[in-house]
Amino acid sequence: MSGPVMTLLLLAVPGLPLLLAIPALNRRLLWPLHIALLPTIVLLFLPGDFSIELPWVLLGSAGMGIDTVSRWWLLMSITIWIASATFLHKSIESGTDNRLTALFLLTLAGQLGAIVATNLVSFFAFTTLMGYAFVGLLFVDGDDRARRAGRLYLVLLIVADIILFEALLIAGGLTNDLGFAAVSRVIAQSPSSVFYLSMVIAGFALKAGFWPLHLWLPLAYGSARPAVAFLLWVVPVATGLLGMVRWIPLGVIAEPTLGTLLLGSGAAGIFYALLFGLMRAQWKQAPLYVAILATGVFAMGLGIGMVDPAIWNQYGGDSAPVFVAAVGLGFAIIIAGLAWLERKKGSPSDSSVADGTVPWFEYWPQAIIRWGRRTGFDTLPGLRESWLARWGGLLQTGRWQKVFDAGEYFIQRWAFAVTLSLLLGMLSVVLLLLDVISVL
């Protein structure tokens, strides 16, 4: 395939959905949903690795490309997106919120863009787009619970972005070329690699909902419509995992402490998923726990890979994308099946109604803000106001007025006397002088 066409296709992968999102902003449109996927599908079936540099974009080193790893991820994503789009098509037709299309397309652009990104900056930019658009999708679509989930995810996302930004800065400080390969090479030899690695892991763990940070996933899943539920795996989780694979120099660097930490987190995740998935026994929730389980497995794999790079080189590099793709497809099939079952049964959605209690993760920040407002930031300006008022009072109280009034009055009445005292002194000099003159 010739260069220009490939370049165009690559650019169209995130570009077309972005363009299509603009007219969808305030109109209900259906046709863009599937059309937006076309360039990706075409690209998927064109053989060979290909990459482009975009020297004008962002920090001058943005790039996009396609290789074997990204093909797997693309394949998985495309499948799920098609499914999601199909479901969405139906719900939009039935007249729900028309902003779904725009947000869907933005999320799509971010996710696909992240997969084809070849350096840290463009990856970061695309995942940010994806993350925020997905939060919007959760907000638009769901009920109270979904919104709450969205808000929690949003907070995690912001924190994650800040952490990843710091990681990015560290990488930027080491090399001008922020391509994945170059960064891997440099980080492996850098003394500050521990900082970098822990930040990357923390950042993507937040984004992907690793074990202790997964809280919002069940919330979102429970109330989101199927079209969005599909995306829960592919968008936040899988892309987070992809980020780890891309950003961490796996197979090159050995970092046992962090690896063990990841291992522990993964194991706990598996344990949790099994326990809760089994205990809840709510069949509708099952796919989600599968996802958490899979995340745990993946984290363990990463952990092992970091403890012993050799193992990763042998197995991980090839199996990771396959694993993710497989989980993704499974996830999609289960959900689709469930949705189909549900519709067939005609049972009303049993999404639990919000009970009005505010969960802790919202209660505490709000309480802190309330407290801060009460104690500090309302009293501080208040204090200033009162001082100003007092100062104004000082200006207005009769005292100063009187001082100045009296002063001016004094000068007016005593002006002649003031003059006199000035001049009489001089006159005495004159008299003395006349004496002197006469002597001369």
Binding site: F416, L423, L424
Partner: protein
């Protein structure tokens, strides 16, 4: 002490006297008179000091000055008197009200 100095001192004395009266008296006519007395004092000083030595003929220049000064003083007095009458007509008083804000 020569008589020249005596005259000069007399002039200065008049000047101080006039100044004193200017400040002490509230009535405008008295103030105007006081100014005139002061002026006379200055003229006296000028005339007296014109004689540099008791023997030499006096310097004519101060005399010319005094004549000019008298002309000025007359016109000033005339203006002051007119103004005083106007003040009286407008306020019914022959004094200046001091600067106390009304």
């Amino acid at each position: 002490m020569s008589y020249i100095i005596l005259y000069a001192l007399l002039g200065v004395g008049l000047f101080v006297l006039g100044l004193y009266a200017l400040i002490i008296h509230a009535h405008l006519l008295r103030k105007i008179l006081a100014i005139n007395v002061m002026g006379t004092g200055v003229f006296l000083v000028l005339v007296a000091l014109a004689a540099r030595h008791q023997d030499a003929p006096p310097d004519p220049v101060p005399h010319a000055m005094v004549i000019t000064g008298i002309v000025v003083a007359v016109s000033a007095t005339a203006l002051a008197l007119i103004l005083m009458l106007k003040v009286y007509a407008a306020t019914g008083k022959t004094e200046l009200h001091d600067g106390k804000p009304d």
